[in-house]
């Protein structure tokens, strides 16, 4: 059994910076690097890309991340665990092998599959959000079950250098190496709960090192342009210390840890993952100084007997148009412009959304402490089943140039095909994971 494991997290979402993970690998003294790159809707969009091209459907930044990390990972004996496989872990593994051959290095890559359950769910199954059959939301595009740690554990045991998964619960990416390293039993829920707390604190990478935190004068964060991403030292009893590489930017303290502990938690007494239902309410955080926070406590109980499934469906086309008004009476002119567009589109778009950016677009009018701005941007958005009809929103906004209030400028228009997500549950026995090993 290992005395201590150090796991770094070098990406908290698909579009995250590339360089912090390289710093972690080169100077972090890591055993494992995790890159968490898969959000709810990211996988549905990836499924669409795979449908257009069977060799695609993995994370768009995979090649660039692996190009920079592969040799340093191998040189520093750091194993990579990532969900960058998205909708196509096998194609992602092939791509990594291709890069390794080009660089003339030896590597063992494991793809963990089995999360794609589109052919195993019934379109008549109930959506958790609506209580109605899944298919009522729209034509189904994808269904991915949140797998737990077991597939990753197997891949680690088969000595893969790089483990690439599709949909896996985020904390499972972190507890898998703990389970292997410390020989934790899969029904020791107390330890799995503690490990899940650490995984949850780590999974958004920079969000615990001062990213998404700074508020100048209130919560100052140094060096945000070179923000360091976190690592956690974990001991066999499930306690951990979160830190970052010296001389990187950012800050780790009680405040950053607390914000992250509660982030996206809908019940701190019962945080569901496929491996354990964790309890966050007994977690003890201690600031050790020097950008290190000790995490103790936390617990867990018996894992659920179903997997959660994210189901992607074809939702609608979102049409948008924007135009700016400036100078005297800018807000009134923008309001008039919005009313004109509403009057012309109200029959086609009963739910047209009209925002005055800088005035009421993110919260409501009531929370805005109105000072009259010098400039304001009108945004109109409407949903439609068809691309053509959705384009009407932008067309009408553009027509304000010669048919609307005085002095409007800078029109932009967009139409976006929107993939929606609903959730459902699937019994465990209907889902099995597979490991595919490739070597270069």
């Amino acid at each position: 059994m290992k005395e201590k494991i150090r796991i770094g997290c070098g990406a908290g979402f698909s579009g995250d910076r590339l360089d912090p993970s390289l710093v972690l690998v080169e100077r972090g003294g890591l055993d494992y690097l995790v890159l968490e790159c898969l959000a709810e809707r990211t996988i549905a969009l990836a499924q669409k890309r795979k449908r257009q091209d069977p060799l695609q459907g993995y994370d768009p930044l995979l090649e660039r991340r692996i190009e920079s990390l592969l040799v340093p990972l191998l040189q520093n004996k750091v194993r990579l665990i990532t969900n960058m496989g998205a909708a196509n872990p096998l194609a992602a593994a092939q791509k990594i092998i291709e890069i390794a051959r080009r660089k003339n290095v030896k590597v063992k890559v494991a793809a963990v599959t089995g999360d794609d359950v589109l052919d195993k769910i019934d379109p008549q199954d109930k959506a958790l959000e609506t209580g109605r059959p899944l298919v009522d939301s729209g034509p189904l595009l994808s269904a991915n079950a949140y797998l737990g740690a077991p597939g990753i554990i197997e891949a680690i045991q088969q000595e893969a250098d790089i483990i690439i998964t599709g949909r896996v619960a985020d904390p499972s990416l972190f507890i898998a190496p703990m389970i292997v390293g410390f020989g934790w039993s899969m029904d020791h829920y107390d330890l799995l709960g503690k490990g899940t707390v650490l995984g949850h604190l780590m999974e958004c990478a920079g969000q615990i090192t001062g990213g998404y935190f700074a508020d100048p004068g209130k919560k100052d964060v140094p060096g945000m342009a070179v923000l360091g991403h976190p690592f956690v030292d974990v001991w066999p009893d499930g306690q951990g210390i979160i830190g970052k590489v010296d001389d990187t930017g950012g800050i780790i303290n009680l405040q950053t840890a607390k914000e992250q502990l509660l982030y996206e938690v809908v019940n701190p007494y019962e945080y569901f993952t496929p491996d354990v239902i964790a309890d966050f309410t007994s977690v003890q955080l201690t600031d050790l100084g020097g950008n290190r926070v000790q995490v103790a406590g936390g617990s867990g109980k018996q894992k659920p007997d179903t997997y959660k499934v994210s189901v992607g469906y074809q939702a609608f086309h979102l049409g948008e148009g924007e135009i700016t008004y400036a100078g005297s009476n800018a807000v009134a002119r923008a309001r008039l412009a919005g009313e004109i567009v509403r009057e012309r589109l109200k029959d086609e778009f009963p739910e047209l959304r009209i925002d005055l950016i800088g005035q009421n677009s993110v919260h409501d009018d009531r929370l805005h402490q109105a000072n009259t701005p010098y400039e304001v941007r009108l945004r109109v958005a409407g949903k439609s089943p068809s691309f053509q009809q959705a384009s009407r929103v932008g067309e009408e906004v553009e027509a304000l140039y010669t048919n609307g209030p005085g002095g409007g400028g800078g029109v932009r228009k967009y139409v976006q095909e929107v993939v929606g997500i609903v959730s459902t549950l699937i019994p465990r026995n209907k889902v099995t994971h597979h490991i595919t090993l490739l070597t270069a």
Partner: protein, 99 residues
């Protein structure tokens, strides 16, 4: 005073559900948050934004409150037509509350 003077917050999203943490800078202000920032107050504050129920958790181990607001994101990040479909900016809207 405003909540902004004594607490900080981070917003998160799960589907159409908004989560808002509220964390006291100083331990001694935590009872005040528990007393003043009631579910009713948060409902009133966000009455044009949060359409569903609000649940409040009080994890005392980290001197924080957590508000879980249902039907709050115009359908959620995938199908909302709002500019901020995640509702990420709403933490600072909570901190605008006068207590």
């Amino acid at each position: 005073m405003k909540l902004y003077d004594i607490a900080h917050s981070r917003a998160g999203d799960k589907g159409n559900t908004l989560t808002l943490s509220l964390i006291a800078y100083r331990l001694k202000d935590y009872p005040l948050l528990c007393e003043k920032v009631t579910i009713e107050k948060v409902k009133e504050h966000f009455k044009d934004i949060v359409k569903g129920d609000i649940v409040r958790y009080e994890p005392p181990n980290i001197a924080s409150l957590l508000f879980v607001c249902h039907d709050a994101l115009g359908g959620g990040v995938t199908t909302s037509s709002r500019m901020d479909a995640h509702g990420k900016t709403l933490s600072y809207a909570l901190l605008q509350m006068e207590i």
